[in-house]
């Protein structure tokens, strides 16, 4: 008998022992034993991150470098995104696409200067991403996995003040910028690569360190009065309130960037009429879908080229609507499906994201979700559910 989720088969992050010491409940996630919550519980952890500073272990995520004079141009052939134009010191969101325009993974990339891109990909996708990147552009640049690196995130309105105490000057970074820094208090001192970004909608930082530095750094951060450890459960509720996609739920190879309402991630230079138009996997389909939305002067949508879109939804009754629930019109016709949903701790109402037929995608449109056979009325709404509070200077 196969036992794929047997805890013995799971990989451990460098903070495994610390999680156990803190009383975390560990669950399998992306092949790792990860803390889903600590004794404080999901709701308390979620609210702490929205009001103070939360420390997340996200070392399951994949970290890699693409190095060489041709790295940016090569990486650009895999994504509908402006890689070449990203200035040194800046970070950007990217999407690896397959040849049908489906999303292989979403990621963050950072221009380190010196012909080097630092890339963070999803844990569950990292092996496949590496193989894909190596196969497609391995001859044009050096692909360097960084399996000996851990990744921590410090998120929340007090994250910057807390980290500045341990790394003076770090407050100079604005959202989606970063660099190499030292973090310490005189006794503990670690070299880190920091970006001001995250997955909660709050101001905060992601901190890449060598594996052996992860626990000393985590203990130093947890010793700060504002900081508490936060599990994957709250990470999920925080990102959903922020309207951010979870790969595997809200986006995957069956969804394109346009269907996923990620048009903002595709800069003009890669779109029809741009200086570096197309030239990425699935470009014909993705650009046609973009143009179905944007080029008709009369404002009509081409429902054949683009059939559905990701939207935000709020339930009009206090019933959680979870992923997998079918969405229907009030006439009872199936029009889509929920891909993420829960009762939001900060928004204090049931929220969801899902895909609906284009005719139902306008904010304010009423639909119904089928929850255990019973209809629950919902309204399409703009994202995010909780306003972003990124620090833009």
């Amino acid at each position: 008998m196969a036992a794929p989720s047997d805890s013995n088969d799971l990989q451990r992050t460098p903070l495994h022992a610390l999680h156990l010491e803190l009383g975390a409940r560990m669950v399998p996630f992306a092949g790792y034993a990860m803390p889903v919550q600590y004794p404080a519980g999901l709701v308390a952890e979620h609210k702490h991150t929205r009001t103070a500073a939360g420390l997340f272990d996200i070392s399951h995520m994949g970290q890699l470098r693409l190095v060489g004079p041709d790295a940016a141009a090569a990486f650009e052939t895999l994504m509908p995104v402006d890689v070449i134009g990203l200035a040194p010191g800046k970070q950007r969101y990217g999407l690896l696409l397959d040849d049908h325009g489906g999303i292989l993974d979403d990621l963050m990339f950072f221009n380190e200067g010196h012909d080097s891109l630092f890339v963070i990909v999803n844990g569950a996708c990292k092996a496949a991403d590496l193989a894909h990147i190596q196969a497609r552009i391995g001859s044009r640049c050096e692909v360097q996995p960084l399996p000996d690196h851990a990744l921590l995130a410090l998120q929340g309105p007090q994250a910057a003040a807390t980290l500045a105490r341990l790394s003076p000057g770090i407050e100079r970074f604005v959202f989606m910028t970063g660099g190499a820094v030292q973090i310490g208090d005189g006794k503990t001192q670690v070299a880190a690569f920091v970006t001001r970004s995250g997955y909660t909608g709050e101001d905060g930082f992601e901190i890449s360190v060598r594996a052996e530095d992860a626990e000393p750094l985590a203990r130093l951060l947890l010793a700060q009065p504002e900081v508490k450890p936060i599990g994957l459960g709250a990470r999920n509720s925080l990102r959903l309130e922020a309207g951010l996609c979870l790969y595997g739920n809200d986006i995957d190879t069956t969804t394109t960037p346009v269907e996923a309402s990620l048009n903002w991630a595709m800069q003009k230079v890669r779109r029809t009429g741009g200086a570096r138009e197309g030239g990425f996997p699935g470009a014909a389909k993705v650009l046609a879908q973009l143009n179905a939305v944007t080029t008709d002067a009369a404002g009509h949508l081409d429902h054949h080229t683009l059939t559905r879109k990701r939207v935000g939804l709020v339930a009009l009754e206090r019933v959680p609507v979870r992923d997998g629930c079918v969405l229907q019109s009030f006439e009872g016709t199936d029009i889509g499906q929920v891909t993420s949903g829960l009762l939001a701790p900060t928004a204090d109402r049931p929220i969801a994201m899902g895909y609906v037929a284009l005719a139902y995608a306008e904010p304010g449109t009423r639909v119904q979700a089928v929850v255990r056979g019973k209809p629950v009325p919902m309204e399409v709404t703009t994202l995010p559910f909780v306003p972003h509070r990124y620090f833009r200077g």
Binding site: G41, L42, V43, S237, V319, P320, L342, L343, R372
Partner: protein, 124 residues
């Protein structure tokens, strides 16, 4: 006062010869985390043992509430519906789910006693 337990982490308290109160155990609410929603059965509806009679949800997960014994639902806990956190704060008191009139009281004999349940939940 007889209280029995199921392997689905529910408790059944016998309130008379054929009446019982049902709820989820301390272990169940701990595993779920902060309970934010309960769906309770209709009063007057009859269920067989093992039928899904309700739902309990935390932010992170949803779990079915099974009928631990066959019978008719006679009352549901409206206070729990209004404040689902009672399932966390008082799972075996104010956080009860529903009351049932037993159609086969002998089914209780096959359920776990406290000692057997503690052993079961420690191992699961």
């Amino acid at each position: 006062m007889t209280i029995k337990y199921t392997k689905d982490h529910e408790w059944v308290q016998l309130d008379g010869s054929d009446a019982a109160t049902v709820g989820i155990t301390v272990h169940a609410q701990d595993a779920l985390g902060d309970v934010v929603f309960v769906d309770l059965p209709e009063v007057g509806k009859t269920f067989a043992q093992g039928d899904v009679a309700g739902v309990v949800e935390s932010v992170k997960a949803a779990a079915d509430v099974f009928m631990p014994v066959s019978g008719e639902v006679t009352e549901v806990n409206e206070a729990l519906r209004a404040d689902p956190s009672l399932a966390n704060s008082a799972p075996q008191a104010e956080g009860w789910f529903f009351k049932v009139r037993l159609s086969e009281p002998a089914q209780l004999d096959a359920l776990l006693d406290a000692t057997a349940y503690d052993k079961f939940s420690a191992e699961s």
